[in-house]
Every structure is written in C-alpha cells, then in structure tokens.
Subunit: 207 residues, 2 copies
C-alpha cells in the first residue's frame, strides 16, 4: 500500500516524524502512530515526555563521558570500582554490554565514536584529549582498548597507542575471542566476559 | 545482549516507553532512543510534539468517524463525492487503502473495529448505530461492505446485513478478488481497485 492521502495533517506529521527513525518505514510508522492514537492521552504524554526529558535533562559524566543523570556517573562515583583501570569504549551501548558481563571492576572512557576518515570523523571529534588528560593527571595504571575489531576500531586503537605508549602505563586490549569484523554490541556475554578477563598487552597483537 | 544496568534513569524510561510499541523490542528501542539522543534538541521536540499534538488535537469526522483535522472530514465535505454511496470499513488505514486505488467516488463509514467475541468486541463497541442512523435519515442508495474477509469480517457483514436489509437500499460487498483470509490493508492496489468496481450484491455471496 502506498501512503499518501492522509485524512489528517496531524496524522501525516506524526507518521513523517516516526519514519525518520532508522529502520522505520512509512508503513511501520503509520502502524505505530495509530497504535499510540488508540492509547489513553496519559500514556501518549508519558511516551513523549520520556523522550523530551531524556534529551533535555540527561548529562554526560564529567570524567568518563558516559550518559548520566548526575554530573559524575554511577560507575565513576562508585568507591568499589578501581579508578586505576580505564576501559576505552566507543559508545554508551558498549558500556552497557561490558557491565552486563559483571566481569569488570574498573571504570570507563567513552570516546563517542571511532576514527573513521570515510565518515569525516577524526581524533578531534572524539573524547581523546580528555582521555590523555586523565592519564596525564596520574593514578591510572592501565588502559584497556575495547573498541570494535573493525578497521576503524584498529586504527583508533593504534592512534591511542601511539599517544599513550610513553605514559608508563599498561596498555591492553580485549582478548581476541571477539570475532574479527564483528561489532562489539552483538558479541555474546560469555565471549565478551572472557575476553576482558584474558585481555592482552596491546603489543602482543601488533605483530 | 541483555539490557539492564542503564547508566541513566531518564534513558531507561525512554527505552521502556518505546519498547511498549508493537513489534519494538528492548534492543531496537535502545537503538531508536540513542539515535534520538544524538539529534538536535529541536528535532527531538518536533518528534514528540507531533505525537502529542496528534493525540490532543485530532478529531473524528462527525459523519463517517474517520480521523480528521476538522469536524467534518475532507472526504465528507467534498462536493465531488457521491454522498449516496457509503463504504463501510473497519479502520482509518482501510480508508487510506481504498483512497489510494483512486477508484471510489463515494463516502465512507469507519466502524472502528469489527465484531469479535473473542476480543470482547460487540456491535455496541462499534459505530454501527450511527451507520443505521445515517441510512435511516435517507439519501443513501447503496452501502458497500469493505471489511476484511476473515470470520470476524464476515460476521460483521452479516450482522449489518440483517440490520439493513429492510431499508430498501442496495447492499453490496467488495468483489471476492480479495483473497479469503487476508487482511484488507495488505491487499495490492490493483486487486483492491478492481474489487470495488466489480462489487457484488451481498446476497450473491451468501450461498
């Protein structure tokens, strides 16, 4: 079915907005919007408020740049976590993936992406300076690279390695139990948990 | 990946709300919410405003009960449409499907569902009384049943037929080019267009 001839401009607007989301076509969008239209007004407001409040009120942790409801996130402010070990990840989902393994007691540093010249993303677009600053301030014994094992992830690892290798800290990376070419978020928890326990010196995988 | 351990309550709320939509799991929900979080604040507000405005401001046409931005919808208020022919459909999407065929010049009556004892939906939950009232007021020469060719659709057709058969109007139904057991909205436009041109007297398919 083609979707034109909307009986209502309000309906058309809502469908157009939903269809901007990734993986949501016009038809799915119409289905979702009509579903919402059948719900109670209160439920619809709860839905849209949750989205706008997230955008308006969420913060990024001043230390690790993970999203957070407070200035410093739950992980960075947890005294049981080892502040001397920093796991470098691409995004928020990767933090959630590693937290779910319950194998890691250090803290994180969220880059907000990886170096990807094809997409015009260079080192200055990522939270790399702030990582180097954290390391330079001292107290960090080890940095773990936990980026996707793609070409972009490897390039980013290598860039960080060059910047950090004279810092007198251990530089490790996830054990290559993670299949090469896979996105981190699709790795099963068992493999991911093992690979953070059996992490390797970064130099070991350079050969 | 399991999704617990949200780094932010605001994020968790937004993901929970999105995951209430049909066909959207927790993981897809997280992907959509993080996509929105990366957009400009203005874009996110446009998204949530479109949803709430639809819910708060949309109307149902006083005549045909299709959704509308005005008291009487564009179709019912269009002088080029034949008010003597009323096509009875289950929902808004069915109106859009038939409008897309560009084969129909009459008006509609949106029941808002079909009779389905399994789901606890009886005649009084649907816009049936208002249909009988429209017919009783006169001026209608023909009522076309365009419900899904499922058991529930057939039951609803038969219920309406019993109520309307003494009204001295033509009662027709879509030509059975529509495959039996199919939902109307998934029927291709060509078949649907032909089936409304070649509509049959309802009595012809009762045998």
């Amino acid at each position: 079915m083609n979707i034109d001839n909307f009986p209502s401009k309000l309906l058309e607007n809502a469908v157009t907005e939903f269809a901007k989301l990734p993986g949501i076509g016009k038809k799915t969008s119409l289905r979702l919007v009509l579903y919402l239209l059948k719900k109670e007004q209160e439920d619809v407001h709860r839905f849209s408020d949750a989205i706008t409040r997230l955008k308006d009120e969420v913060k990024h942790c001043l230390l690790c740049h993970n999203i957070s409801d407070t200035d410093v996130c739950n992980i960075c402010s947890n005294n049981a976590r080892d502040k001397g070990v920093v796991c470098v990840v691409e995004n928020i989902r990767d933090v959630m993936s590693i937290e779910n393994t319950q194998q890691y007691r250090g803290v994180y540093h969220v880059l907000g992406g990886i170096i990807s010249p094809m997409d015009g993303i260079g080192p200055s677009d990522l939270e790399i300076e702030s990582l180097l600053k954290r390391v330079a301030e001292g107290g960090i014994r080890e940095v773990i690279f936990a980026l996707s094992t793609t070409m972009e992830g490897d390039s980013t690892n290598f860039y960080l390695f060059k910047k950090l290798k004279n810092s007198n800290i251990r530089i490790t990376t996830l054990a290559r139990g993670v299949s090469v070419g896979d996105e981190l978020e699709f790795t099963d928890e068992l493999t991911l948990g093992r690979s953070i326990i059996n992490r390797l010196l970064y130099e070991q995988i350079l050969s």
